[in-house]
Amino acid sequence: MSHKEVKSEEQSELNITRRSVLGAGAVIAGTGIVGSQIIDPLAKTAYAAGSDAPIKIGFQAHRTGIGALYGRWYERTTNAAAKYINSIGGIAGRPIEIITEDDGTDPKRGADVVEKLATQHKVDFVFGTLFSHVVMGSAPRAGELKIPYFVVSEGYHVASGALNRYTFQPCITDVRAQISAVSGWLFNNLGKNVTLIYPDYAFGYNHRDYATAAAEKHGGKIVAKIAIPPTESSFTRYFVKIPKNTDVIYHVMVGPGVLTFVRELGEHFGPNHPQLFGFIDSLEGVNISSPGLDFLDGSYFWEAMPRYADGYDTVGSRFYRNAVGVNNSGASRSDSKDVSAYSHMFGCWETLFAIKEAVEQSGYRSKKDYSTLIETVEGFTGFNEGIAHPQGAKVFSGKTHQCYGQQFVSKVGNGKLNVIHKTSIADGMYEPETDYTKQSL
């Protein structure tokens, strides 16, 4: 967001500048409308007397492998969204059909799945990939096959320009935006000397780099950067590397080792510990009142969408929570031990609505209309908050193919997460570093 990041004249002329963002924020606040070309996605359209074939959407799911927990909830959310979209008349009058293939949370298989969906199942679009290394492995194939690829990931890979014109991330914010949004609050409220603990691969490096940049901006200092290999199962030995002058431990961990991580942190420090600020990725799918997590009491978490219903009570979020079968505590309504990936899975719901809008606005009928569809999406400037976008309004950059949105900070207390701060969309915005619209189709 700082003006230092504006590297060229060309960039300073980009659509999304600080001023336009603030403007957009004002529009959201004032009228609840972002952009002029957005139609009401919920307007009921009748099927054209059964004459239209379904719109086929290939869902690249992490059913197995390290992403399986997220994958299960992505699948439930996707199916719930498809069911609802069909109940209100489908997409441009055509029913939606989801075709799911497991990629094993594996980049190589991810590329194969994209190809299989495109060439064998002949889907219209591919969607739903989460883990960043799988996105990195799969997106090039989507680009080669020239099929629109809508990911629901978090890494900075889409907006960085590393991917291609066919890849979009319209409905979930990236790590850079998340950090930019919450870091001001973190450095001003919790402390200036921060130790970063992050996974030793691309997703973790995004955290390391943008948290370091944010520290400079807000007068904070990163006193140590501790990278942990993703397969690690014991963490005590890393904690001795945390400097004594640390005010805040900023942690983001994913995978099954997370609970151990938190527990061992508690064992190591005892009651006199630095402040803890974590990314909820660490605890997606994990019950906050799990044994050994008492140590988190009083610590802080970033959430993209509050897990507990009382933290964000809007008509849209209530409708969505009900539709995906999640109770007020963020667990499955049929099994209270089955905790959801609530801060991520909304992206699947919202992305299907973004696809719906893209198809309906571009007049897409078949694969020959891909160019028009892509140009239509690139013309989007955002989405309204509502049933289609329950997490909140989004600002969308056609150049980076990436959206920006609001973020939440929650504090753990009484065995639950309590929202204590909500950022504006503008807090998370930064100057685009790429322009996919200049690539050929």
Binding site: I66, A68, I228, S233, R237, V240, L259, F269, G270, D338
Partner: protein, 297 residues
């Protein structure tokens, strides 16, 4: 020297403490793999899954009893028994069918690995599930705190290792196992029921892995992919120690555990893993039978 200790003493202490706990648990997991190779001459790729099943059964026991202590005691009895039964079943209907042929058993146990992993994913689900420790307390040292339960785990592992040692040296079944290990044909000629011994060894190996799973799960949760890391570490330990040698397995577990602790604390954990792998390569080149292994004819 003294100033070095003042500064780094606590770190060294932590490294030794953490390394010792790692070593005991590692020895317990690797021992089953070592026994199976020693007696049956097969490489059990599914060994890590037996460990995982122990942890998963432990979660079910905890869920069923809803009490950490009773759940733990139940799991301590039931998990090794169940996993042992699965091992006997695998031996009877898979390994025996491929006549314990070395290459075939590797492929067959890879199959067993996938079957166990997928069934667990279907029944247990993809998430990591926490199991409460039967006894939980935190030990506060002057410089840092440490989990009391981890020390209990180390103690119980040591007790189990001792138990296996005594069993192998003192019991009739242990004698049969050692006889089969030394010479299958002669043991058979002398009336050792080698087929039953094979099944027992495979069950014992699986049971020990499951026991380790039960002990470790309150420290690190149960999930369906947790078998891979202990499998790799067990291979490292067993190759260094010498296949089939109990003493070798324990010594190698300590070499790996303590060096891992010290290198991780003073340098980088990744470096510790690299050095362990390098050490394995050197053992394979310089002393292929391992530190205490019998010479391969």
């Amino acid at each position: 020297m003294i100033s070095w200790f003042n500064e780094n003493g606590p770190l060294l202490f932590l490294a030794l403490l953490d390394g010792t706990v790692t070593a005991f648990v590692l020895a317990l997991i690797a021992l089953g793999l070592s026994l199976v190779f020693g007696v049956m001459r097969i490489v059990n790729i599914a060994h890590g899954e037996f460990f995982m099943l122990g942890a998963v059964f432990s979660w079910f026991a905890f869920d069923l009893t809803n009490d950490p202590l009773w759940g733990f005691l139940l799991a301590l009895v039931v998990a090794p028994a169940l996993v042992g039964s699965i091992a006997i079943f695998s031996d009877r209907f898979i390994l025996r069918k491929v006549k314990y042929h070395p290459e075939s058993t590797i492929v067959a146990t890879i199959g067993v690995l996938y079957v166990i992993q997928s069934v667990t994913l279907m029944v247990f689900g993809p998430e990591a599930r926490a199991v409460e420790a039967p006894l939980y307390f935190r030990i506060q040292f002057p410089w840092f705190g440490y989990s009391g339960y981890k020390l209990i785990v180390a103690g119980m592992s040591a007790f189990c290792l001792l138990g296996v040692w005594v069993f192998m040296k003192r019991s009739k079944l242990g004698l049969y196992m050692r006889a089969t290990q030394q010479d299958f044909e002669i043991a058979k000629t002398y009336g050792v029921p080698t087929q039953k011994i094979y099944a027992s060894v495979f069950a014992l190996g699986g049971g020990l892995a499951a026991l380790a799973g039960v002990l470790i799960v309150p420290i690190r949760q149960a999930d369906h992919l947790m078998g891979l890391e202990p499998l790799l570490l067990s291979f490292i330990v067993v190759i260094i120690g010498g296949l089939g040698s109990i003493r070798g397995t324990i010594v190698a577990a300590f070499i790996i555990g303590i060096s891992d602790g010290i290198i991780s604390v003073f340098y980088e954990p990744t470096l510790a893993k690299m050095l362990a792998t390098l050490f394995v390569a050197m053992v394979l080149v310089l002393k292929p039978s391992g530190l205490y292994g019998e010479e391969v004819v």
